[in-house]
Symmetry: C2
Subunit: 380 residues, 2 copies
């Protein structure tokens, strides 16, 4: 039995104001190809299908088209759970009516945690779906006095254990923060102060645990407890990530073999660092100018219209950081130097930079009078 | 073959700020009962399923539960089209994956208008689904130069005719404004100035046309071209309506027999008219105090805290209109009398009404000084 584990699609997400739908469609088409090429039996999507509870209509259409390809054209089973970004009721619409088509959606947490049992060519497989549920939800649905994410997950897994069969491999799908997991800048915290952590050991007993929430592919505690990671880099903190899907071969006896298939984005996310002139010169011969760029500029001299200059070469530059305005390699030295300067000096430098000539004497005098008045009135 | 025609569910709608979801759930349960009792083969819902393109999550859940009852528990076919209130992409999510469960959703207008062909016990039936589409949408999807709703509908029906089979009854489902139809206050105009009208004759050739948009049940042009009307009264202008669903028996040869089954609301919409004291006295022995009430008060004397007094007896009073403040049966006489009075007199009467005693001399003097100042400055 071959399972493809993916998560954190975040359909409809924007990056610095730019819609990523074309990028998402690009990698979802790759996933469909992988499912076909690798003879995957079941696709498990471990939450954060959408980026928000009310996704844009185009994201709804993209998900619909992808599920149609997987379920109707390829005839595979798809199991998906709601993550903390999803609106569980909306995601779970008509779930029971979709089962015959091979689509199994776990939207809101229900008091029955009976598994999705799939009769595959290689045997029968139980998939236990745990949509994202904080302690408050678990208290409400099961009436159990849980106060942490760990207690909540333990309560859910006790119910899984009640229904688990020893003669059948069991996959758990969950959307949570497993202790020690490596974060990136694009996950929304489940709660504050570390109370959202769940120990990996809870998932030890199951054949495989398909996790969602963290955006870097990683195993937690053991090889069969894994985050597949997101399908795209959703922050520049992930520039060094390799995004992938996880292929899991499950033997009827419960042995698992795990491999990864890398996803190739339509546009890479790259961080370029150096003086503006150097970046612009390199840009002229850059074969991947369409990539999403974060430019970290080390110039110590001020630069005007940085984004405009960069965009002429890198049309999808999203961010420019002026590092040297804050530090010059040894810390925030430039800033300290600037703090020593008077408002008059600072404005004078700015004026000269913009106008190409220094303040005239009468201009400087007028400015000084304005600044003195402001000082006297406590405005500076 | 028995078809149940309904439309304009408007799930998630509010009436004067009050959620109607419990009322909607109440009548949808009746529709499920009617489908069971009357051995209905197919339920046709002619648009405005939701009240807006992004409905509240509870409305999504109610629709899901109703469709589950109809398709899974009763095993009937359900065909539904998007109306002008629906978000077609959202409504059409995973439509192809729902077909096997007996649910046929026409969300966005597609360039194929091939019918839903149902093989029922009584024979085969073609249902042509025309989701709401204005001229602009028809131009975009079919590239035809249509500029009115009539031309748009004619263009769609030409495509229906291309695929219509003479040996099979054909049902058209459409969401539009058929010329001469009786409106109420709760429909949202499709366009301004009457350009939204479609002649009934366009639908003459088909076995039955199941229309949505107008909220009063009515036939247009011929008995087999009908609006089922909404499931609830969505404005006080509909207080006299009888809401119902339409049962359509279709013989394989194309003969139709039509009947209606009335729906009983959880709470009626009623307009009560008379002096406040009379309404309050009647309210004490009113067996249906939970109804939604619009009170049209004929008092000529001012009344204080009208809504509070009414709500004590009618907890769901939604609106109070003070008719006599504008007219006393012969026109706006009271208003004219009031217009003759000075601001000082008007305020003095108001003060006495609220305080139970007239303005004291010094109060009147002070008020007069304020009013004189306002007059002098052009503020009155």
């Amino acid at each position: 039995m071959r399972l493809l584990h993916t998560s954190d699609w975040h359909l409809g997400r924007q990056l610095h104001g730019v819609s990523l739908l074309p990028d998402q469609a690009h990698v979802l088409a790759q996933i469909v190809d992988i499912v076909r090429e690798e003879a995957v039996d079941v696709v498990a999507i471990a939450g954060d299908i959408y980026d928000r509870s009310v996704p844009p209509a185009e994201a709804v259409e993209l998900l619909g088209a992808t599920l149609r390809s997987l379920c109707l054209e390829l005839g595979r089973q798809v199991v998906l759970i709601a993550g903390n970004h999803d609106g569980p009721e909306r995601l779970g619409f008509a779930a029971e009516l979709l089962v015959d088509a091979g689509l199994h959606i776990a939207g809101p947490l229900r008091d029955s945690l009976s598994p999705v049992t799939l009769a595959l060519a290689g045997g029968e497989l139980d998939i236990f779906c745990l949509p994202y549920a904080g302690p408050a939800t678990v208290r409400q649905v099961f009436g159990e006095a849980v106060s942490t994410h760990e207690e909540a997950m333990a309560a859910l897994l006790r119910r899984v254990d009640d229904q688990r069969r020893a003669d059948r491999p069991s996959v758990v799908m969950a959307h949570c923060f497993v202790d020690g997991g490596e974060e990136s800048d694009s996950e929304r915290p489940l709660s504050l102060g570390g109370a959202d952590r769940v120990p990996a050991a809870l998932f030890e007993p199951y054949t495989y645990t398909a996790l969602g929430h963290l955006h870097r592919p990683q195993q937690r505690g053991a090889e069969h407890i894994r985050y597949s990671g997101s399908i795209l880099k959703y922050s520049f903190s992930e520039a060094a990530h390799r995004k992938s899907v996880t292929l899991v071969d499950i033997a009827q006896g419960g042995d698992v073999a795990i491999s990864q298939r890398e996803l190739t984005p339509l546009r890479e996310l790259r961080v370029l660092e150096g003086p503006l002139d150097t970046l612009l010169r390199q840009g002229e011969s850059d074969p991947r100018r369409e990539d999403y760029i974060c430019a970290r500029l080390t110039d110590t001299a001020a630069q005007l219209d940085v984004m405009g200059k960069l965009r002429a070469l890198y049309p999808n530059v999203l961010q420019a950081q002026l590092l040297a305005r804050e530090y010059n390699g040894q810390g925030p030295v430039a800033s300290r130097e600037m703090l020593k300067k008077s408002h008059l000096d600072l404005f004078g430098e700015f004026f000269e930079e913009v106008q190409g000539e220094p303040l005239a004497r009468d201009q400087a005098d007028y400015l000084k009078a304005v600044l003195d008045t402001l000082h006297a009135e406590g405005g500076l």
